[in-house]
Point group: C2
Chain length 394, copies 2
Amino acid sequence: MMDTDMLAPDPHTIGSHGLEDLPTPCLLLDEALLRRNVFTMKQHLAALGVGFRPHLKTAKCLEVARIAMTQPSGPAMVSTLREAEFFAEGGVRDMIYGVGIAPAKLDRVGAIRKRFGADLAVVLDSAEQADAVADWVKAHGDALPVLIEVDADGHRSGVAPNDAATLTAIGRRLIGGGADLRGVLLHAGASYGLSDPEAIAAAAEAERAAAVGAATLLRQAGLPCPVVSIGSTPTARFAKDLSGVTELRAGVFMIGDLFQAGVGSCAIDDIALSVLATVIGQQRAKGWIIVDAGWMAMSRDRGTARQAVDQGYGVVCDLAGKPYPDLIVADANQEHGIVAVRPGSQAALPELPIGAKLRILPNHACATGAQHDRYHVLDASGGVTAVWPRINGW
Amino acid sequence: MMDTDMLAPDPHTIGSHGLEDLPTPCLLLDEALLRRNVFTMKQHLAALGVGFRPHLKTAKCLEVARIAMTQPSGPAMVSTLREAEFFAEGGVRDMIYGVGIAPAKLDRVGAIRKRFGADLAVVLDSAEQADAVADWVKAHGDALPVLIEVDADGHRSGVAPNDAATLTAIGRRLIGGGADLRGVLLHAGASYGLSDPEAIAAAAEAERAAAVGAATLLRQAGLPCPVVSIGSTPTARFAKDLSGVTELRAGVFMIGDLFQAGVGSCAIDDIALSVLATVIGQQRAKGWIIVDAGWMAMSRDRGTARQAVDQGYGVVCDLAGKPYPDLIVADANQEHGIVAVRPGSQAALPELPIGAKLRILPNHACATGAQHDRYHVLDASGGVTAVWPRINGW
């Protein structure tokens, strides 16, 4: 790559200092909140007696993964093979690649397994994919571990949980081909559309029941199903009983965001991620402050637009992370954020001169994180103590 | 960085071959369409007798920049100082950084100017910023070039075009401090909300008139204003007369996207950018095909949702780039795209087996491009002939 870093302040060399010195826009991660969110989830899951496989697709960062995982070797969940490679390099050995496998990706999966001795499993939901895996296993002599994706709630992929014929057909083709049938995997993605704790608890119970039901069908057919894996941040948060489930997966819970706050999976003051921005303009007659964090820094995610409280492109906070009353990023261009008081509010626009710095809480931690290549890590006093790299891409 | 590339197919070493061999999801750029879009715009602007300063924020790629610019040294427009550094490394010398300058960024601007001998100008719209620039110029002895941002249509930043007092106050502070007052700069961003060619032509005339009006006020006050810079892709496309304007800026026009097609700035078959995806699942009972391009590959941009035709997360095409009838990415999760026939259409869901490849046209080229770090470049026969890196970040 070209040597352009010498022109920009090099954030990898920073010591503990203030937010005022960071170039904007940039991504901030509050380590104490991250650790608190992880601790709370681990306590909850321990009380429910279920294993924990954190999803690393939100953070995409080895330092965060090490805080979230129960061991440095895992277990963990990944959403791309780039993540699998990156975390394998970092010592993670027990991973599931959670996106339905394309046959052309099997060689890359096999290379990661071989190079790192990693237990990297794949998921699938069709006999066609099972046949492709069986062919690959026969050709390579590597008993690839596989989970059958089961549809918890009709929101995306998976075999219907009561479709014994398809479940057993897939299982038999895998076993017949020499693959390692690990079990079933579900994701109650429809829970993202809920906001009532009892409704989310019911979704968690439906997810559990579907998982256990599908596992029972496999076992009744004489097929192995050691793993029963479920999870989403909302159902993880509100599950009351996980009998029959062996492991739970969740990812965004560890960082939190305004969308999850709208669902009720976290509070706004649990959100560990924010974008640091600088005031670059005033349009007082319109009630606007212009900042240098537009949608490129915040992402185009507007998930809260369909919730009870629309948070625009984010909630505006002071440097200590305290929200200004009713102040949001009301609109955004690529590199411009338009900060304004929420429609209908009587709150006053704060006096923020050119050059003042702000922190903005995001709609969606996964999407906002992906716009950046590093976290500036804050300690309990608000000082910046470290830079943690994060990855993107496939 | 860690050595993980050895596991993935290395796309930098590919020769001319087919799309079938590329790992998915990935970004495709049709070079012939790119060149046609640039040629058409240059012809149009030459006929109007105006200079051309392509905006590089969409492509963020040196190879694309060299096709778009009139000379390898520029002129060009950038949206981040990271872009300014990257393109200066690549030989671009005449640039405007188009986001209102924060005083803390002046040292980095100065470093780019000094290291590369680059004519990098900044924009501002307040006396406070002018004072900060004047102080910086006095301290560093570098007569920084500055354009005053003027508000074309109330959509974002800028001084009102008839606000002689503010325009001249800014100009005098700059000149008094030893800065190089270059002129005025406008962006008719509200044109993005239009779709009627006559209405866009009227917006272009309003942008022109505001620019010339502000320039006249500066000149009447005895201040220099050699540059009168305007531009947006829609107004560039439909402008009929640019008398008094010295240069026009536009960026997304060179690549095109579904949003610009909805505005009328391009046709769908002008769109040079697409995302290559693989079929990874079937939900035939629901009328869905699942692909491995979710919102991470497409971006969260849903710009067409507020246009006459909502294109979902993108229009689905075959490998030759021809759209399937009414087939769109109807919904998306992070790494899953849900392909379905447009609501209300009687078109049939095509038969696309597991492993089949598709191309998806994006809502917004700037946002989709930013999710990727490289373009796979297609030649006229649809072969992949090159990989062009692109940058992100600040």
